[in-house]
Every structure is written in C-alpha cells, then in structure tokens.
C-alpha cells in the first residue's frame, strides 16, 4: 500500500506561531479522507503544504511520492479546491473551462462540459454572478477535470447552505466513484464528512490528534459509564481520550483494541461526532497539563 500523503514531523510557522507542528501522517491511497478540526487548527496549512502553495519550515512532506508543487507533472497529479472556492469574477464559466484546458495537459474536456451541463450552469455567465454553491461546483469541476490522482478540498462547503452542501458532496462522491481519485477533504463540521469519508484525521491546535480508518476508529473507541473511577484503574491497553466525572459517576471515552472486560462499566458505541469531540476535549485537557502529556 502506497501513501498518497506522507508527512514526517512536518511544521509550518507564521512569525513565532506554529500553524502546524510535529505532523506525522501516512494516508493510504484510495481513501476519502476527512480532515477535521476546529477553525485555526492548521487544516488549511496542511492542505496548502500538500499542494505546494506553502513550503514547510520543519520536517518533510511527500505527496504521491513527490515534493509538492515542484514540477508541472507533480502539479498535474494533484487537484485543489481552495477555501472560499476562488474563481475569476470577470470570467465566464466557459472561460474557466478554457483556462483549465490550456493550463492542464491532462484536461478532460468531455467530462468538464458534461458536468457543467448537468449542473445547469450557463457557460456564458460570469463567475462573479454565480451563487456560492454554483461557484463551488465550478471549482470542483476544474479540479476534477484535470484528472488528478489526489483531490484536495479545503472547507469546500463551509459557506454553502444545507441544500448546496448536500448537492456538492453528492457531486463529489459521484466524480470520485467515477474516476477513483483519492480525496482529502477538510471541514470543521463532522456531519459534512460523516456521509462521504472513510478515513479520518483530527487536527487540533496545530497537531494531529488521531488518524485512521473510520470503521476501525469507531470499533476501537468506547464510552464507559460507571461508578466513579480513578484514571489509573484501567488496563494498560486502554487509553483514556476524555473523561468527565460527577460525584458518583465517571464517564470515559477510551481507545481499546480488545474488548472491555471490567463489569462495572456500561459500554456504549460512539458515533463519529462524539469521537471527534472527545479528541478535541482531550487536546484542551492536555494543553492545560502539558507536563503530563504522553506523546504516542
């Protein structure tokens, strides 16, 4: 299995603040990856490093085995839909397709034309006059029609209304199913990703908190509820992700590869949103007690 994105201790700094640090990741090919985290966690930074819009200040990154953005052929293999889906306001939809065709040797004209027609976009309309949803669809069409092996999308649905959101993600799924590219999609909303992703990366406060197949993550994370316990009383293969206590009760989210055997716990399955929230809470807790943080 080859990695579409392989980062090792990757870091990017703006002034004194690290937007991304110690990021070590290996994302396997053929996945639809959800990159999730709160605003300002470093999602955009990671994606822009992956497409070569930024250069790392620490560590290294390889995308499809190459250094991002360094050659025309490397650029051709990665499609990118930037945040706010920028397009040239004064140019029409048709002009944008023409631009894509001139700037990408592997351009799939038939696909682009068909998709614009299917979306019902007027080719003569200026991009500045399109709705947010239409603009996002145009940007997606441009990124897909260059036939990338990896498609990166930075918060593509953040500014869309719920209907446009659904349509966009549906469109994304269709083209992915048709063309079989790997996808990395960022969002600060888990609900957006739940429907389309099979791999998850949680990024909080410039660091990767967890990364893995969603099915495996869901199978190995549990919510334990029971009489008040101390943190130390768990078997060594169970890692506490987040904990909350009342006077009498403890509620823990743990990662455990084996089954939970302690009968005093009642064990519940987590959904994806709970899992992500647990990691975000964990991050907050860890930051409050940095000396006790255990790096895995």
């Amino acid at each position: 299995m080859t990695a579409v994105l392989e980062a090792s201790r990757l870091g990017k700094r703006y002034g004194h603040k690290w937007a991304l640090s110690e990021c070590t990741l290996a994302i396997p090919a053929g996945k639809v990856v959800g990159l999730v985290g709160p605003n300002g966690a470093g999602k955009t930074t990671l994606l822009e490093l992956s497409v070569g819009l930024l250069r790392p200040d620490a560590g290294s990154i390889a995308v499809l085995g190459g250094q991002p953005g360094t050659s025309a052929s490397q650029l051709a293999r990665v499609g990118f839909v930037a945040q706010e889906t920028p397009t040239y306001a004064g140019m029409s939809t048709r002009d944008h397709l023409w631009l894509g065709a001139r700037m990408n040797p592997s351009w799939d004209e038939a696909f682009a034309e068909a998709r614009i027609a299917q979306l019902g976009l007027d080719p003569r309309q200026k991009a500045g006059k399109l709705s947010g949803g239409q603009r996002a669809q145009l940007a997606l069409t441009l990124a897909v029609a260059k036939r990338p092996e990896l498609l990166l999308l930075d918060e593509p649905v953040a500014s869309l209304d719920p209907l446009a959101r659904r349509e966009f993600l549906q469109g994304l799924m269709e083209v992915v199913a048709e063309h079989g590219a790997s996808v990395i999609l960022s969002s600060h909303l888990v609900a957006d990703l739940e429907r389309v992703c099979d791999y998850l990366v949680v990024l909080v406060d410039s660091r990767v908190r967890v990364a893995g197949d969603i099915d495996e993550l869901l199978a190995s994370h549990h919510r334990l509820t029971g009489p008040r316990h101390d943190r130390d009383g768990l078997p060594s293969d169970q890692q506490v992700i987040s904990a909350s206590h009342t006077d009498k009760q403890s509620s823990l989210v743990v990662r455990a590869d084996g089954p939970i055997l302690d009968p005093s716990w009642s064990v519940e399955q987590l959904d994806l949103e709970d899992l992500v929230l647990a990691y975000m809470a964990h991050a907050v807790e860890a930051d409050r007690r940095p000396k006790l943080e255990v790096r895995s």
């Binding site: 819009l53 953005g69 930037a82 306001a89 592997s106 441009l142 260059k146």
Partner: protein
Amino acid sequence: MIRVALRQFRTEGIVGFGLLVVFAIVLAITGPHLAHVYDAFESSCKVARDCATAPNPVLNLDKPLRGALPFVVAIAPALVGLFFGSPLIARELETGTFRLAWTQSVTRRRWLAVKLGLVGIASMAIGGLLTWMADWWASPLDAVNQDRFGVANFSFHGIAPIGYAAFAFALGATAGVLFRKTVPAMALTAAGFAAARVAVTYWVRPHFASPVRESLPLSTGSGPGILFVDGQGTMNFNAYIQSGVPTPAVGQVALTAPHVSVPNGWVYSTTVVDKAGHAPTSHYLFRACPVLKQLSKPQLPSAAQLQACLTRLTSTFHTVLAYQPANRFWPFQWAEMGLFLVAALALCGFTHLWLRRRYA
C-alpha cells in the same frame, strides 16, 4: 499559458492599445499639415535668404497638442505601471485566485515568467510606439528648435521611454506582490516611478559620459554681458543703461558668460575664465573698466563705452563651454533605456524570489 496570460490581459490591453490608436489618429490627422507648413517655409525662406532670422510659422501651429505631447509621453509609462503592473499579481493575491492559478499544471516560475514577459512586452510596445509617433509628429518642430538633447526634451524622444515603461511595469508588479493589494501598490508605483525619473534625469544621466570642454573666444555666441549687483538684486548692464535711472550704490559687478547654443547638443555650463582658469573678480572689473563706477552718477556710461570695456576684457578672458555634442544623443538614449531595463529585470527577479519565499 501564453494564451491564458493574453486572455487575462485582454481588458487592460484593449484599453491601453485603444488609447494608443486614438492618439495615433489625432497625430496622423494633424501631423502632415505641420510638415507641409515647415516644407513651405523652408522653400520660401531659401528664396528670401532669411531662414536663420525669419520666424518659422510651424511654431504657431497646434499649440495645445504641442503642449500636451510631452505630458502624454511622460505620463504613459506611469499609467502602464499603474494599470498593467500593479494589478497583475496583486489582484490574484487580493481575491485569492492565486490558489486557483498556481495549482494548475503550470509551475509558479513559468506562470510568472509568461505573465511578466507578455505584459512587460506590451508595456514596452506602448512606451516605444507612443514615443515613435510623437517623434514623427514633432520632427518639424525639433528641426526648428534643435534642442532634443536638453534636460526638458530628452526623455520624450528616442528609445528611453521603452525603458521607462518596462521599469514602471516591473515596479508596479513588484509593489503589488509586496502589498498584496492593488491600490497601495499603485500609489507606490506612481511615487517610485516619478522619483526614479527625476533622480536619473538630474543625477545619473549627466554622468553617462564626461562632457566635451571647449574654450571659445569671449565674443562667441550672444553675449557676454556685465551684471551689476546692488541692494535690489542683479540687473543686466544693458538693461540698466536703457532704463536710464542711476543706481544709488553699486555693490559688485560680474562678467556673465555668453549664451552659446549647440544645435541638438546638451550644454552643461558656460563659464568665463582667464588663462590661469580664474573667473574675473568684481574688483578686477572695476579696475579694468573704470567706466563701471559711473553707474551711480547721473551721467550714465554709454553703450559704446561698455563695448570698449568688453573688448578689452576679451583679450584676457575666454569662455569654457562644457557640453554633450549632438552625436551622443543615441548613445545616451541607449544608456538610459539600458539602465531602466536592467532595473526592471532586477525587480522581476526580486518578485520571483519573493513569491518563492512567501508561497513555497
């Protein structure tokens, strides 16, 4: 990528070259008449043998256009910098479209090279064509005035404006990358271009080549004259005699250099010195020409007395003329264009490095 750059330059390009065409039409309509009047005068003054003295009627034609022409030629490179240069990259950074442009299958280096190259060439074409048209239109006037090398006119002739346009464009593009916003970049471009032009005109261009120094008899040219200095300031001696009013006190007198014109040359200075290279002092002049002391008396010296005095001085003093001869006009044009082109290339290189540093 070249066609993409052309497409994205379409609006600015159409406006820029459209204005050039409008200007060309105006010049094409008025120019032939100017040339015709000049030719008619040439043939009639040759018959009358008064070409050197008779007023040339072309100097009375198309005065508004003549006044506007240097202004247009001077301002065009600045406009090119503001409207071709400043928005070129700044607008992409401002609107975020650089994220779209730089993630297509074209490297940043190539994207930048094509954009800068193509729009840069368009800028130079506008600067060059405009000046060429203005040169053609004004050629009868230049033939009369014989002054295209002078500080006031040099910049509106020849090929130097090609360099100005390239520089203004590159400055605009660079400012756009630094500010990441079009409007502040425009302000910096306008100020920077004006400063560069003034600095080169007054402090750099005079040093392209050391001037020719020539010693001439004092009687060459129109002059010399004697100035006297009193409490009121300076006044030409001849003018003073004509006014007929004696001055209460004569402070100092000075011998002014004659005005020597070099056709199509550039005169730096004319100075009056003796054989040892010293300028005449006031004290010396009073001694050599006692008649100057009469300036405060009711009986003013006559013009003949003044002339006799000047004739005496001619044997002692001579004029030193420092100038660039007319045949250096083109070397100077090449030097000035080259200087601005090198600066433009340096700015483009800086822009490339800056973009690479800031955005991978």
